[in-house]
């Protein structure tokens, strides 16, 4: 202890001052050693300061993800440089690139294998909504059709700066969580996401009834509902109903209203 500066106690207390709470009385002999904070704060701080991403590249965005971790952008500044190839050891899945139907079951399986707490960041236009390849017959229009996503980063591909911004937003999200309400300590909420299966096209086990409703009713001649029209087109392929859902109609009305306001057209 001989090497400590004479005003050590005072310096330490100044450092600790922002963390100290008025109502908590810390004994004098402990004041230099004890830091009092909330459980949430320390829990979130430790989680977000060592958030290990899954080493998992899908497409072009993966190259920018590597660049983010490499020399110039240096992801190690945020405690995230340890990319883990095993989902068991990682906290964050960066879905970096186009999700194809052939790949989607593997991604969902990997997501299920990650230990909680787990987060998903959807990087780039493709992972978010299909991007330029949205119409493709082998392309999933956004990974959020299958697994929950926490942060979306737009761009094609996003610059490393954009990815870092997305990761900092992820940190903010973690900071707002409370140990009393996070889902992974509750009894009922840690279910596996059903893994999609590859049939004639990819299908979600959660939607089997919906699919049967369309494909099987079309064969018996009775169309799914009167409003939806025939469920199969001339080529015999199930096309689904031609009309829009109520949610979509409401959104279109909103868009029309905005368009009218912008162009100055009366309703």
């Amino acid at each position: 202890m001989a090497s400590l500066p004479p005003n050590f106690q005072q310096l330490k207390q100044e450092q600790l001052k922002p963390f100290l709470h008025d109502q908590i009385i810390v004994p004098d002999e402990l004041q230099a050693n004890v830091l009092i904070t909330t459980v949430d704060k320390i829990y979130n701080w430790s989680r977000r300061s060592s958030m290990w991403p899954l080493l998992f590249g899908l497409a072009c965005c993966a190259i920018e993800m590597i660049a983010t971790a490499a020399s110039r952008y240096d992801l190690a500044r945020f405690g995230m440089e340890v990319m883990r190839p095993s989902p068991r050891q990682s906290d964050l899945m960066i879905v970096s690139g186009t999700v194809t139907k052939k790949m989607a079951p593997a991604i969902v399986r990997i997501y299920n294998q990650m230990a909680e707490p787990r987060y998903v960041l959807s990087m780039g236009a493709c992972a978010t909504g299909g991007g330029p390849f949205k119409e493709g017959y082998n392309v999933v229009s956004g990974i959020d059709k299958y697994i929950p996503v926490d942060v979306y980063v737009p761009g094609c591909p996003p610059m490393p700066e954009a990815l870092i911004y997305g990761l900092l937003k992820m940190h903010e999200k973690v900071d707002r969580q409370s140990v009393t309400s996070v889902p992974w300590y509750r009894k009922d909420s840690s279910a596996f996401v059903p893994v999609p299966r590859l049939g004639p096209d990819i299908f979600d086990p959660r939607q089997v009834e919906l699919i049967k409703d369309t494909t099987l009713k079309a064969t018996t001649g009775a169309s799914a509902t009167a409003a939806n029209g025939p469920a199969a087109d001339a080529e015999g392929r199930a096309r689904g109903p031609k009309t829009l859902s109520d949610k979509a109609k409401a959104r279109m009305e909103e868009a029309k209203k905005r368009w009218r306001a912008k162009k100055g057209v009366p309703a």
Partner: protein
């Protein structure tokens, strides 16, 4: 054509060929920019064998298929067959242009497999089977390759429509009319990009039995060996060493590989189907996303094909800019590739970080000139889209004359004499250069086997005939040489850059008529260039409309994978990782 866009004329095919095989040739593909023979389906193998053995056309570059159902052009009115298989052959010995063969697929949709003559047809024929449904008689392993077993239909056929199909041609009129917009998923009850055949019952669906590779190693019954059981080991699609979503299905005995099958399609994002709905120009940004490490070469290759088809001239300055961008791209690619070969060898990250440092300097230049680091979308038909900003030329000259040579020397000094690299690389993954060519492998791989075949010299495009550069070759055709050839090629790129940056003239950067909509004249064209990974070609068919009728990418990464299995058999499983790394694939280009 001006001198600037001069491409080598197709060779005057020996008259002997036409005489000897007169009964096989049933015509030509109409008026063509490149001469194309129509061959009777049952004679195609004899013709291929003759061309390989007698005429010296030893390189089956491109094999693809075209569906002419509903073709709008004038040239094919009297033809009843809808499908046509197309072959492009080159000679690696005499260089020059291709010889093109077409085969009209008969009613039973079966064509003899070219794998008997050119083993390199393997993956390309599987792709045609997958996407068009043409069956190849005698193919050793005719399975789906890009899609999964059990997929409904063959999507590249013209009458196959996607779940989100709206119209044949973009831009879709149904999008954004008067502030109304609707996502297509809102019209489907399952709100996803899927479609199911009528009468299909998901409850009773059985997944087809998974494919298991059988041993391809020569049987070693007579040699002393441990009597162990071989097992199947699956690497990927999520595996840190497969450079993306690639899957290797291996059969191993102990650690020795008996068979290795590449499984792909995990990044198949329907480039070609989308390309047929797009206008000619709309495809340009899509080509960026093929080989996303060097979008400039992809842009150029596509622009070259369309310019050849439509006869567009390129101004002098634009030609220089293209060369500069493509050679910078080659250095980016080779630096990256060297870094990651070492990564696969176990030198985790450090060499890659050195390489990425230089790469970032070049990406700054790309960003300054095109606005994007990776997806540059810089070239247009007839030139490039933007001129150089202020200060660009100085920075590029500094890189080419000063920094990059030093950086390459540093990599050389750190790596080339490295003991571990030599121990792991020498003699591993050997395949003779003759085998590589018969497997349609191109690019640095064959130059590391001793064959000085580079399209920049063999069939010069752009203005490559003006520059003084060498084609480096190495004799051993192993991992070590495949690493070192990339370093040597990057040095040659630096030499080209120094000359191009010194000689670049002032002037126009965009020739042709310009404008958004291009109507290419009816015809077909195959054009290729030496991309960093090998021969990157575009095969385009136009029916005279605003969109390509057929848009096919001959991607080097995909076709070089033909050699992965043969190169890996007999080596250890840890070597297979490096063998794959030394092929240098990019999944965007493999699966397209």
């Amino acid at each position: 054509m001006s001198q600037a866009t001069a491409v080598a004329e197709p060779p005057v095919v020996d008259i002997r060929f036409e005489q000897e095989l007169a009964d096989a040739i049933v015509g030509a593909w109409a008026e063509d920019t490149q001469k194309a023979y129509m061959i009777a389906p049952d004679k195609i193998l004899a013709v291929l064998r003759h061309l390989r053995d007698v005429e010296g056309y030893d390189f089956l570059s491109n094999l693809t298929c075209v569906d002419y159902k509903g073709y709008g052009g004038k040239l094919r009115n009297d033809v009843s067959e809808r499908l046509e298989v197309v072959y492009r052959l080159y000679s690696t010995r005499i260089g020059g242009g291709p010889i093109s063969l077409h085969v009209r697929v008969p009613q039973d949709e079966t064509v003899p497999s070219a794998t008997a003559v050119f083993p390199g047809a393997n993956l390309q024929e599987r792709e045609v089977y997958d996407l068009f449904g043409v069956k190849f008689d005698g193919h050793p392993n005719l399975r789906r390759i890009l899609l999964w077993d059990g997929f409904n239909g063959h999507p590249m056929r013209k009458d196959w429509q996607e779940a989100y199909y709206e119209e044949d041609v973009k831009p879709f009129r149904s999008r954004h009319p008067k502030g109304e917009y609707a996502f297509h998923e809102d019209k489907l009850p399952w709100a996803k990009n899927t479609t199911y055949p009528t009468g299909w019952d998901p409850d009773s669906w059985q997944q087809p039995v998974a494919y298991v590779p059988v041993s391809q190693a020569p049987h070693h019954e007579n040699e002393p060996h441990l009597d162990t059981e071989s097992i199947v080991v699956n690497l990927g699609p999520h595996h840190p060493s497969t450079h993306g979503v690639f899957r290797m299905l291996t059969r191993v005995e102990g650690e020795t590989i008996l068979a290795l099958e590449p499984e792909m399609g995990y990044l198949h994002r329907n480039h070609e189907k989308i390309g047929e709905r797009n206008t000619w120009l709309m495809n340009m940004p899509f080509t960026d996303r093929l080989d996303y490490l060097n979008s400039m070469s992809n842009n150029w290759s596509y622009a070259l094909a369309v310019e050849k088809l439509a006869g567009i001239e390129v101004p002098e300055r634009a030609e220089y800019l293209r060369v500069i961008m493509a050679e910078f791209g080659r250095i980016v690619n080779h630096a990256w590739s060297i870094g990651f070969i070492l990564n696969d060898l176990g030198a985790l990250q450090t060499p890659a970080l050195y390489a990425i440092e230089e790469r970032e300097m070049i990406l700054d230049l790309f960003e300054a000139v095109s606005g994007a680091r990776l997806m540059c979308n810089y070239m247009r038909f007839g030139g490039v889209v933007r001129d150089l900003p202020a200060g660009w030329h100085e920075q590029a000259t500094y890189l080419a004359n000063d920094r990059l040579p030093r950086a390459l020397d540093e990599l050389d000094r750190l790596l080339t004499e490295n003991e571990i690299l030599k121990a792991r690389g020498r003699g591993v993954g050997y395949l003779s250069v003759e085998d590589l060519i018969s497997l349609s492998v191109s690019g640095p791989m064959i130059r590391a086997g001793g064959l000085a075949y580079d399209i920049r010299k063999a069939e010069p495009y752009g203005i490559y005939d003006r520059f003084d550069f060498d084609i480096p070759t190495l004799p051993n055709s192993d991992i070590y040489d495949r690493y070192y050839i990339r370093l040597l090629e990057a040095r040659e790129s630096v030499r080209i850059l120094q000359q191009a940056l010194r000689d670049i003239p002032e002037g126009e950067i965009l020739g042709g008529k310009g404008g958004y909509t291009l109507r290419a004249p009816e015809g077909e064209v195959y054009s290729r260039l030496e991309a960093p990974k090998g021969e990157l070609g575009f095969y385009l068919v136009s029916d005279g409309k605003t969109t390509p009728w057929r848009y096919h990418v001959r991607s080097p990464s995909y076709i070089n994978l033909n050699a992965l299995g043969p190169m890996s058999v007999g080596y250890k499983i840890a070597d297979a990782i490096v063998i794959l790394g030394a092929i240098d694939i990019v999944l965007g280009e493999v699966d397209r």
